[in-house]
Symmetry: C2
Subunit: 311 residues, 2 copies
């Protein structure tokens, strides 16, 4: 039996993975916002390093109340909009629906569970360089795999089926232990999201400077040590993983992470879930993330300057 998918937030992430699934024949219903009219009329284009594709006819909606109940809901909103989920999700849910939060940061599933106590929740970690490059058009530049982990799924076999569907569609994926996977993803997000904003540059600019590479590495180690303090007895991430992430990024195409794009477009940045939650979580077990706290302060300053000031 095939799964019915909903995508909430059809941007660089939701548009890509939802698009891949639809392109491989899955039934996918897309919630759109600004691009709704355009995509309804013209479909969705994905310019991908793995091969371009074009979905001529798309199940497009501008309200979840018009959408069918689905088996799997892929949430790919900015976390700064997660407060909307309380209203957006109910029309999409039947009693076995799994909601997968394909978002970065820590504490997202716990926050959602508070509003939906019985809901089957999972998390997704997208390792992808992609962005919206036009109306109804996604650019995919590098990487692309999507790892998934259960947070409170009473039906974990459905996650296996999601993985199979993704693999069928050409997306590399695996089911991982979620908490560890989220921390591992942060080893990339915390240094690169923030530093590209504060230094106003791409990942490639950062990686071209040995002094900056040392700083990024020391920030990564703070994430590793924070993770291992929190995970003591449950999971552990080796320091060598930070080196791997550095090397991967060194060979990546020059990239502006989503937070940098938010900054460029003067949108709110995802500081809460990517910085504040990990900082407090580590702090709660006695580990102080000094550099990360400094980077967070710089980001909050930058954001306040453009969100609340005129200059």
């Amino acid at each position: 039996m095939s799964l019915k998918y909903a995508v909430v937030g059809t941007g660089a992430i939701g548009g890509y993975y939802g698009g891949k699934l639809a392109n491989s024949g899955q039934e996918v219903h897309f919630l759109l916002h600004s691009d709704y009219e355009y995509v309804k009329r013209n479909g969705l284009k994905v310019d991908s390093v793995h091969g371009d594709f074009y979905l001529k006819s798309v199940h497009a909606y501008n309200s979840t109340s018009d959408m069918p109940k689905c088996d799997v809901v892929l949430v790919a909103l900015k976390t700064t909009n997660n407060k909307l989920l309380k209203e957006l999700l109910p029309p999409l849910l039947h009693k076995d629906t799994v909601v997968i939060l394909i978002q970065n940061g820590l504490g997202l599933e716990a926050d959602l569970q508070k509003d939906f106590p019985g809901l089957n929740i999972a998390g997704g970690l997208a390792f992808i360089c992609s962005s919206k490059i036009g109306e109804g058009r996604i650019g995919h530049f590098d990487e692309g795999h999507l790892n998934i982990g259960s947070y409170s799924c009473t039906n974990p076999e459905i996650l296996e089926q999601v993985c199979n569907d993704l693999i069928q569609s050409g997306v590399r994926t695996q089911v991982l232990e979620l908490e560890k996977a989220r921390w591992m993803k942060l080893i990339w997000n915390i240094p690169y999201n923030g530093m590209t904003v504060v230094m106003n540059c791409t990942t490639a600019n950062l990686m071209s400077d040995p002094v900056m590479v040392d700083l990024l590495y020391s920030i990564m180690l703070e994430v590793v040590h924070g993770a291992n303090s929190v995970g003591r007895g449950r999971f552990s991430i080796p320091e060598s993983y930070a080196r791997d992430i550095l090397e991967m990024t060194r060979h990546m195409t020059p990239y502006s992470p989503s937070m940098k794009l938010d900054f460029d477009n003067r949108r709110p940045m995802e500081i809460e879930y990517i910085y504040s939650r990990p900082i407090s979580k580590a702090q709660s077990v006695g580990y102080k993330m000094t550099r990360i706290t400094m980077l967070r302060s710089q980001l909050q300053f930058v954001e306040a300057q453009y969100l609340f000031c005129d200059k």
Copy 2:
């Protein structure tokens, strides 16, 4: 007997203090660079919150080899140009000349002493908001005192006379223990010089944001703790001094520190003496300045981007 003064580096600092001394009747010889022709012809103007003044006729030179030997040499170059002192100073020196380095940072006097083993060296700490606002024209916006301390003066009474001359000229001053005074000055320079560059803003912008004020305060505390680790048994700076500096800066006119002006004009920044020396000095006694090291890395990255890259 009155002292004969030389000013090496007639910019925002040298032009102001040399100008004050000359304006009160002292004999002052100014070494100029880009403004030489203009000042020789038109004199030196100081627009000061304490009262404007104009020196119509100035002893102006574009080479120290044309200057007389002086009793006191006020060095007010950027520290990034201190390597020039080896050539600049000799024509100005008699056997009792005192060279006062009116510059920010740590280790300046020791470096100079290496090149001039027998020289009487002192340091000067300028608490002043001033900048060059045009050809032969200095703007003075706030504060203005200049503290002095001996590094290797065998004739310390001459420093007392310099203080008297400064007081006569309307400059608040006192003789202080130099090492402690340099560290105290760094409690301002380290947070504000670097952060106005990295955040690309004025001191007032920084002070308008409570999150940033907390960060600046924690950076100041690193300076205090570094200073006290280095000064153990010799001197100690109370943490409350950091609060005083914060409050002083909060009430200061919006200001771009000299490092910010260097950044704006894509000139080398004084990272070595203001950041690297204090970091290594503290490190050598076992205190790690984590935030300051991070700020230093950000500054080095920024500088490398504009000094060595095309973008």
